[in-house]
Point group: C2
Chain length 127, copies 2
């Protein structure tokens, strides 16, 4: 039973596949969103999941996560992640975002029902 070596991808391939610039791919590697191995000549080689990570990263940024938070989210994504690994990460991402949306809604609701429309937890007496 051979260990089938999946093919690798260069910076520009990952860039094309994920829809970002090559410079962004390098940036994401520097910040732990994707990881790469190096060739003998020091060039980056990514696995299949790299483009996927970057696509997810762009989606996550759009709903308020920082690059740091995204890298943290991916820390327990194994090399060659399987569907269930992606499902777990996607689930955690959605949970986090839904929590932020719940917080948003709760605060908005509190403000709308506040006496002066917007005195959430303030009420400093002397004024």
């Amino acid at each position: 039973m051979t260990v089938l070596e999946h093919r690798t991808y260069s910076v520009s391939e990952v860039a094309t596949d994920s829809g970002v610039a090559p410079s962004a791919v390098r940036f994401y590697e520097n910040h732990g969103v994707v990881t790469a191995v190096r060739t003998a000549g020091n060039q980056r080689r990514f696995d299949e999941s790299a483009a996927c990570r970057i696509q997810v990263a762009k989606l996550a940024q759009r709903v308020g996560l920082s690059v740091r938070e995204i890298a943290d989210l991916f820390t327990d994504l194994p090399v060659d992640p399987q569907r269930e690994d992606w499902e777990r990460v996607a689930g955690r991402l959605v949970t986090e975002v839904e929590q932020r949306v719940r917080h948003l809604k709760a605060q908005l609701a509190a403000m709308e029902s506040g006496a002066k429309l917007c005195e959430i937890g303030r009420h400093d007496p002397a004024r």
Copy 2:
């Protein structure tokens, strides 16, 4: 029937009431998140809604809106906004965010069901 002049607030009052630094209050005024009138001596005076706008702005940033987008969201908030004005703005904010979350979920779902776990709309032939 007198036009009851609601009291005004200084930069540091708005800062305290909204939980940000005075420098941020000035920044938000420069970027159209809040508006101010000026005293004879050129000092900013805000209405009650200023602290509220900033609180909403911080919530909105947390779910991915830029300062520009937030200022745009507030453009049709009248002076001395009433509950229904806030409800309209809050509704638009929530709608926008929920749209982003729907997009996130849809893309994640598409990626999870994709053949190679992550080839959403790419499939370039020659490779």
